[in-house]
């Protein structure tokens, strides 16, 4: 009886709070949604509109262009473009190498960090995070320098050791760019996972220890499953981030012809909009990339919620 009465009052209070809080919350949310609408929703709608139209000229093309509704034609043209499809395939390959390396690395680092003694922990945390403090463009420029044969101390050192390697040739350039991404993002994700590890209840770990689990066993069977939700957030951000791969290849393309100006879908879209002056195709390509991001993030969240339930 007593508990029942308690729950009803709590419920009632909750409802009352929600009643007054709704208005306050709305007030607080207005600025966000105003900016969100102007900076996010409006451009998306504008891009959608652009992607269904085309600038059509006639004859020699000297003269005003007409804007025509063309339905899905831009999308068809984008998918028919060999370079765009190659870019998608390349991006897929990039994900296949990048995600396991980066996320796997982050998990291992975070678990190691969690297992070290408190003093060293702060230092390692800083060291691991440091690469992320370097802005992406600068990192890419520095790596481009480190990869260029003839100037790079790295290539020279390897040559001294008898290893002939050209990081920028057509076969190596993809792993080379993956390496930049891993270098840049592992530390950032280590921090997220490490924070999740800090939240693991110590009594569970103590119980595991009492049951005879060593550090490794505890890491695999106790800690890892408990940080899975954090891991799924990381996966989500990583996938969205990867689809937008742009900075690194666009910097590296200045150093080698192996990275073309349409190397990944985002570069393709940029080139379409600002170099080839076809905003409509660029819009269609962007919508395709965004759609891909939406589908993939949906898949990841579905998968992780299923994993969390089981």
């Amino acid at each position: 009886m007593a508990t029942q009465a308690l729950t009803t009052t709590v419920r009632r209070q909750g409802r009352a709070l929600a009643g007054t809080g709704g208005r306050t919350a709305a007030l607080f949310l207005v600025p966000f949604f105003a900016v969100f609408a102007i900076a996010m929703i409006a451009p998306v709608i504008y891009s959608l509109v652009l992607s269904f139209h085309s600038q059509q000229k006639s004859g020699l093309g000297f003269g005003e262009a007409k804007t025509v509704f063309v339905g899905l034609e831009n999308y068809v043209q984008v998918f028919q473009s060999e370079t765009f499809v190659e870019g998608i395939a390349r991006l897929g390959l990039y994900c296949l190498i990048y995600i396991p390396c980066m996320v796997g690395g982050a998990v291992v680092f975070a678990l190691l960090l969690d297992a070290t003694v408190a003093k060293a922990r702060k230092l390692f945390q800083l060291l691991v995070f440091l690469p992320h403090a370097v802005p992406g463009v600068i990192a890419a420029l520095i790596w481009a320098y480190l990869y260029t044969p003839g100037i790079s101390p790295l290539v020279q050192a390897l040559q001294g050791g008898g290893i002939q390697i050209n990081f920028l040739d057509a076969h190596m350039v993809l792993p080379s760019i993956v390496n930049i991404g891993v270098w840049e993002w592992t530390g950032y994700n280590v921090i997220i996972l490490f924070t999740a590890l800090q939240a693991v209840p110590r009594e569970i770990l103590e119980a595991a220890r009492v049951d005879g689990a060593g550090e490794i066993r505890a890491a695999i069977s106790i800690k890892f499953p408990l940080i899975l939700p954090a891991l799924s957030v990381i996966m989500l951000f990583t996938i969205i981030g990867t689809l937008q791969l742009f900075t690194e290849p666009s910097i590296i393309s200045k150093a080698t012809a192996s990275v073309t100006s349409t190397w990944v879908p985002n570069l393709w879209a940029y080139d379409a909009a600002f170099i080839r002056h076809n905003l409509n195709q660029a819009a269609a390509a962007s919508i395709i990339i965004a759609g891909l991001a939406a589908v993939l993030s949906l898949a990841v969240t579905r998968l992780s919620s299923r994993m969390n339930k089981s």
Binding site: A39, M40, I41, A42, P43, V44, Y46, S47, L50, S54, Q55, Q56, K57, S58, G59, L60, G61, F62, A65, T83, A144, Y145, P149, G150, I151, D169, A170, L236, I240, Q244, K254, A255, T256, A257, S258, T260, T262, N266, A269, Y270, D271, A273, F274, I275, R276, H277, N278, L279, Q281, A282, A283, S286, I287, A290, A293, A294, S297, L298, T301, S305
Partner: protein
């Protein structure tokens, strides 16, 4: 959970479309160009060329009716045209812009620059130009720009390395190949020149010299010949040079390229008059003073040449004061004062008669081992007539550059020009243009 992935989706969508948001505003119609006898007012001028700030200052000092404010923008390879084109479309572009010849037709075709007829004094400007330079700025009887430089394509060599190989300056492409082989015999690690996949305009120049016509008009249709017979000949020839390691495939202006010049890995540069400062900057510290010489391009038998690069000045559609802008364009392209003001910034070779001697006087060419301006003059006299740039050069530029990316994995220049031809034709047709292959 539902809401979260909705957000994630929208965030992804928004981020990748954000790129496009910058170019939203529709075109604002500019005031109809009305020729005024004595224009006045303030105008803006964008350029990526070095020393143009000084030219604007000199113009401001020379009169007090028109005030020019100058702004440096990145060059084409670094997004200069993207910036210019978007700004003009959005209605906040400069009054006067700098556009290179290959890109000019697409700005004309997009109505982003205005015809200068009626704004400029034709008799004192256009009429004094040679036919080859006029052809670069006139479309359909109208003049859309005044040409600044006329850049003859050239070869630059290290004369000490040629001497070491025991060869004279190659007169024909055949001799060029022989020279490369002889160089290999005495210096196995050296290349006679580099082939630059990121410099598609250089490929165009080589084809132009050989008599190719990548673009032309036939009635109301474009004729595209990026893989025409002359180009095929040039493609096979350069492929042969690459296969024999006579030329090295590398990105122009990259660190690798610079280092190759500095340490004598590459002993020649396919360039133009404007290459001088770049070569000097990269090789001066390696003690190569007096070793670099300019030479006319090797030929296919008879005297021939091409332009490689070069810029024009234009009045944009977003100009609110086209009359004043045109006045400044006249000053930029025809006045000796403008050339003097630029000072020792580069080995300019100018389209308007009588200006080049001024530029020559301002430029310190003592780094070079021969009279480079003499060579420029010679080369300028041999330009193969009949070349025209297409309605959207950057389609071809991107397609060819991308296809060159396969050169290191078994692709050939032949395949590349074929790919570029198909891509150019397809893209032009997509834009509704009439194309004949």
């Amino acid at each position: 959970m539902k809401r979260r992935h909705l957000f994630a989706g929208v965030a992804g969508l928004a981020a990748s479309t954000l790129l496009l948001a910058a170019c939203g505003t529709g075109p604002t119609p500019a005031a109809a160009p009305t020729p005024t006898e004595d224009p006045s007012g303030s105008i803006t001028f964008w350029s990526s060329l070095a020393g143009m700030d000084k030219v604007a200052e000199a113009f401001n000092a020379s009169q007090d009716k028109i005030k020019v404010s100058f702004e440096t923008i990145p060059n084409g390879a670094n997004g200069g045209y993207a910036k210019l084109s978007t700004a003009i479309t959005a209605g906040n572009g400069p009054d006067v812009a700098t556009i290179e010849y290959p890109q000019l037709p697409q700005f004309v075709s997009n109505s982003q620059v205005v015809p200068l007829d009626g704004l400029i004094n034709k008799a004192e400007t256009v009429d004094k130009l040679t036919d080859e330079t006029k052809a670069l700025v006139q479309f359909g009887e109208k003049t859309y720009a005044l040409p600044y430089d006329a850049a003859p394509m050239l070869m630059w060599y290290r004369q000490d390395m040629l001497a070491k190989a025991g060869v004279e300056i190659p007169k024909t492409w055949d001799e060029f190949e022989q020279a490369g082989k002889k160089l290999k015999a005495v210096a196995p690690d050296s290349y006679l020149a580099s082939f630059n996949p990121n410099e598609v305009a250089a490929s165009a120049g080589l084809a132009w010299q050989a008599g190719a016509k990548w673009f032309g008009t036939e009635g109301d249709s474009w004729k595209v010949g990026v893989n025409d017979e002359a180009t095929q000949k040039v493609a096979s020839y350069w492929q042969k040079l690459i296969d024999q390691k006579i030329v090295k495939v590398s990105q122009a202006y990259s660190d690798e390229w610079s280092l190759d010049l500095a340490n004598s890995n590459v002993v020649g540069v396919l360039g133009a008059n404007w290459s001088a400062t770049g070569i000097q900057k990269r090789t001066e510290a390696s003690g190569q003073k007096g070793q670099w010489i300019a030479a006319e391009l090797p030929t296919w038998g008879n005297e021939s040449g091409a332009f490689y690069g070069g810029s024009s000045f234009n009045v944009t559609k977003s100009s609110k004061n086209p009359a004043a802008a045109a006045k400044f364009v006249e000053f930029l392209t025809t006045s000796q004062e403008a050339i003097k003001a630029r000072g020792n910034t580069g080995s300019a070779f100018l389209a308007f008669p009588g200006l080049t001697p001024v530029a020559q006087k301002a430029y310190d060419a003592s780094y070079f081992g021969n009279d480079i301006y003499e060579v420029f003059n010679q080369a300028y006299g041999t330009i193969t007539p009949g070349w025209q740039w297409g309605p959207n050069w950057d389609i071809t530029n991107t397609a060819l550059k991308d296809a060159y990316g396969k050169l290191t994995t078994g692709g050939t220049i032949h395949d590349a020009v074929d790919t570029a031809q198909d891509a150019t034709v397809a893209s032009l047709k997509q834009a509704g243009l009439s194309v004949k292959e």
